[in-house]
Structure formats: structure tokens, C-alpha cells
Symmetry: D2
Subunit: 180 residues, 4 copies
């Protein structure tokens, strides 16, 4: 049974809403256990527990917010060389398009890479002008249907990859067989 | 008299339209000479000529399109240590939000930094959910009024900085006096 | 049997040497098939063939060299939504430390992410002052023992992850059991 | 009289040493006032005061350390739209080459860009294999002569640009006349 953690920091509530949509998407794939936690609730054990992680935070100044960095920094001693090989993806919200969400997604991705995790994006569109190639992004509150769908699809894909690679369902997966 | 170059590569025509709006904005500040050129038209002399440059390209695979990289690569011998100290800003279009425009803006910014130029963004919004903190970005064709205004404001600010710092209008500038 | 592709572009020969060391490392894990190809030799089929890819290029202007971008750009139509779920890592050389290798590694990583691949780094050191957290990097020719070891370890880890996740050796892997 | 601020966060003391070398370089240009402050000592007024800023921090997890992000975050209300148009450059230290210094330099640069400042690198080498194209970087303690020189040259160039553009010495500057 695959284990999925959605870990987020939210200030205005927008990233929290994104996280909830990511969770909804992750639960579409049956047979995985999905946890949603803010950094105020999560402990190092949640990361040890999971096979796949979706990490989200708003963009502040184009970088990862300090409370999110502090959370990982405080657990670095435990995580170092002990959490690699997990599957990871990222999401971020900001006040406006162009406000740094893609840049903060890259920052979140670097944190996961730093610990040896696998980071992926989706070669996919959720509408004529909404993509999630490097993670899901949102300007303001996630209200647009294509933004909500972007969050859901991110969570679903994470859940799919965990099912495929961790839960041993590789042979029966249309996702994998697609590219064979 | 300050000299402004808007240099772009466009495949679909969207980045070209952005470039034209950047030019419109740059021309708002009187007394600067503004040139708009695609990389098919521009030569190394255009870069030598300018005091400020706005550099634009669509995002391809999250990185700077190869034709734009090739253009700079081919002029590196001439530019190296000969074009630093110019003012620069960037813009990018993509098929959709989240498609890599911010990442490509960073790539374009790195090219300018590599040659010792000054790269800036705007701490500004052009609507409730449109910013240009790290350059102007656009999903698809620039139709939204706030995207068009983002391009114009980018060009205008470039033109203002050149007037302030190169054309010696520092004492009389509200832009500079604002932060004193 | 896992399949590993080391794909590189080299101008001076330094990245080619790195690629050869990556190959040596990848071959340490028995039972995987390892191919080394430059972008002049490789076709789209090599990417379709592989389960894991190590992608390398020198840094030019802080971004991915145009010939490497062009190679992927030319194959985008075939690759789009057809190569995701493969394991990927990156490496880069430059004239000097601080010359953009980490930035170019990020550019290469974005290309892989764009196509839905998994990108990872190594939470590891190969000497007191050499790491490969975001890919292997090198200043000039790979002569330092810790740089050579960095390339080898990158290839080896790629080969290990493919064995673990693609070749079904997850249960017996010390790499995976380590973090349980 | 130009005003230069070297602002840093240091944990191990290595970035502090880099900052001191940056200061030494900045003082080479006569007629500028140079301040060196850690984020524990500096207040928002130091940023308002300066015409040019060199910002430094170690790399933690490939991103800007949380204490540095928190410092800027706490002053965002005051800084927003009030500190743009200043000249900025960056520097970073890490445990090893490849450990994220270039990435953290980019993070620091994004913070400065976010506030509308001009960010630059140096198209220069300080030895056969040491550059500072995107800021000065160091692995461990700054002991290598070319690393120390990199820090000094970064500070000197910042001081030169301030003299040229803020202190009105543009006409007499070899730096500017070089590219005419």
C-alpha cells in the first residue's frame, strides 16, 4: 500500500486550499494512504512514513518562505541520507501571475533533490492556457477550474507513480505502458 | 540621449507582440531612442549601441530557446567584457501559465548577468493578479489588458532607469527621489 | 534488465570525459545495459529505449548550450507524453567554479522535468569539499579524484535506482532498506 | 559620496569571512562609504541608506537560509517600492563545490530583483578555474587565493558601479569607457 504525504505551509489560506485539491487528486488512485499536514502539524516521521510527497508553499520574495525552510532545516540531521528515493512534486501560490510561483516551485524542488528524492512535473495541460510542467501554480485563491484541476492532477499523478513504482503495479499501469 | 534596444525571438508571434508593447512603454519616456529588433535582424552592434536592453523569448522546455542562445553564443567573443554595465530586463511567453515563463526569464537574465549587465524586475502589479517582479510573462497571445500593461510598464521602467542613470536625470526623477 | 543512457554534448572534450566516468559508475551495478552517446550519435529511440538517463553539457552563458536545447526541441513532438516516468540526473562542466555549472544542471533538469521524468541529486560528498547534490559538476577537465568519483557515483546511483524501481530489485536493495 | 552595504548571514563563519573580503574590495575605490553588517546587526535603515548592496549567505538545502529570508520578509512592508534602483550583487558559501552556492546566489539575487534592484555578475576570472559570473562562491572556508580575490573583486566592482552611476563619475570611468 503506497503512502502519500501532502505537506504545506500556508499564510493566507490559498496554498492550504491547493493542498486540499492535491489530496483529492491523490485519493483518486485506490489503495494508497493519503495524509494532509501543514508544517505546524507534521513531524519528521511523516516524511519517513511516506513513499511520495507533494510539497507546497506560497512564494515570498521569489524564494521559499522562511518557515518552510526552517522546517526542513530543523530536520536535516535526521533526513540526511535517510529519505532519498521517495517521489516528489511541488506547488505554490502567489498574489499574481509572474509573482514567483515557478521560482518557488524550483526552490521546493531543490529541497527535495537535496535529500535525494525524485522530482517530477507533468507534461500536461488542464485548459488551453494552464499547465503544470514544473509543479502546480496559482495566482490568489484557487478558483479557476483549470487551477483546481491542476492541483488534483498533480496529486493524482503522484499517487499513480507511487502505485506504479512502490506498490508494484508497474505491469498493469497505462501510465507506464503508454511510453513503452 | 539614452538608447534602448528591445531584442526578441518569436516563433508563434506572441513574443513579438509582447516586444511591441515593451517598445510602446519605452517610448513614453521622452528623449530616449528606442529600437525594436528580432534576432534575425539584430547584429552585435545593436547591443554595443544600447544603454538598456529588454530581452524576450518564448519558453521552450523551461529553458531559453536554442536560437536565442545561439545568437548570444555567436557574439560572445565580441561581447565578453565589452557590454557590461548596461541595464537589462526580460520577458517571456508560453502556451500556458506554469509553462516555464518565469524559468525562461531567469535564463534570459542569466545571459545578461553573464555579460556583466544589471538585471531588474518591477515591484509592481498591473491588476489584482498580474505582476512583473522578475520580468513580464504571458500565456498565449498578449490579449489581457493587465498583460499588455505589464509589457508596457517593463519597457517604460527600462527607459526610466536609462534616463535616470545614463542620461543624467537622476536629480529630477520621482523614481529615484521616491526612495530617498 | 534495466537500461541506462548517458547522453551528452561536449565542445572541449571535458563533458565527454565526465560522461565516460558516469558510464563507468553506471556499469558497477550488474545487470543493467549502459549506452553512452553524444547528441551527434543519439536518436529519439535511445531515449525511448532507456529506463534512466544521465544528461550532460557544458555551461554556456549560464544556460544549456544551444545544440543540446535544439536536440530536445527537435524531438519534442515524439517525446511529449511518451517518455515520462524515466529516472534522470544531470552533469555539467565549465571553465571555472562559479561559471554556471549548477545553473546549467538546473536547466538540464528542467528539460527532463518538462517531459515528466524524475530528477534526483545525491545527498553525498566525494571529498571534504566536493558534492553532487544537484548533479555532478566540474571546472575544466575532470582531473581531481573527487570530481571523477562524483561522476562515477552519479552514474552508479542512477543505475541503482533503475535496478531498484524498474528491475524489481527493491526488496533486496540496501539503498531502499536504508531509509525504511 | 556613494554608500555601500555588505549584508550577510553566517553560521559557520565562512560567509562572514567572505563578507570581510568583499568589504576590503569595496574600499579600494576611494570616496565611497562602506558598511559591513550581519543580519543580527542590520536594520531596514541600512538598506535605505545604501546605494549598492552585496548580499551573502551560506547555502542550506540549495535555497536561501531561513534566517536571511526572515530578515527580508520582516522588512518587506517598509521596503516595497521604496528601495528599487539600488545596485546589488551576491555571494554564498557551502560545504563543498556543487553544494548549491550558485543556486543560493540566484535565490539572493531574486530577493534583490523582487525589490526592484539591479543585480549583476562579473564577466571575469580570478584564476584559471575560478569565476564570479553570477556572484562569488566558496567551498568551505575562503582560503584559496582565487576565492579571496573573487570576493574582493565583487566588492570592488560594486563600489565602482556605485561611483560610476550614483556618484556621477561616469565620464572618467575606465569601466564605462571600456565598452564605448
Amino acid at each position: 500500500m503506497g503512502k502519500i504525504l501532502i505537506l504545506y505551509y500556508s499564510k493566507s489560506g490559498n496554498t492550504k486550499k491547493m493542498a486540499e485539491y492535491v489530496k483529492t487528486g491523490a485519493e483518486v488512485i485506490e489503495g494508497n494512504d493519503v495524509r494532509l499536514k501543514s508544517i505546524d502539524e507534521a513531524t519528521a516521521d511523516d516524511v519517513f512514513w511516506c513513499d511520495g510527497i507533494a510539497l507546497g508553499a506560497p512564494t515570498h520574495l521569489g524564494v521559499v518562505p522562511w518557515k518552510m525552510v526552517r522546517w526542513w532545516d530543523g530536520n536535516t540531521g535526521e533526513f540526511w541520507q535517510n529519505v532519498d528515493g521517495k517521489f516528489g512534486c511541488v506547488f505554490s501560490s502567489s498574489g499574481g501571475w509572474g509573482g514567483g510561483t515557478e521560482l518557488t516551485c524550483q526552490g521546493l524542488a531543490k529541497i527535495l533533490m537535496n535529500f535525494g528524492m525524485f522530482v517530477f512535473g507533468l507534461p500536461d495541460y488542464t485548459s488551453g492556457d494552464m499547465t503544470l510542467h514544473y509543479g502546480s501554480i496559482c495566482a490568489g485563491e484557487p478558483k479557476r477550474e483549470d487551477v483546481i484541476e491542476s492541483c488534483k492532477r498533480l496529486g493524482r499523478r503522484l499517487s499513480e507513480w507511487v502505485a506504479v513504482y512502490v506498490d508494484g503495479k508497474r505491469e498493469e499501469s497505462p501510465l507506464v505502458n503508454r511510453y513503452r
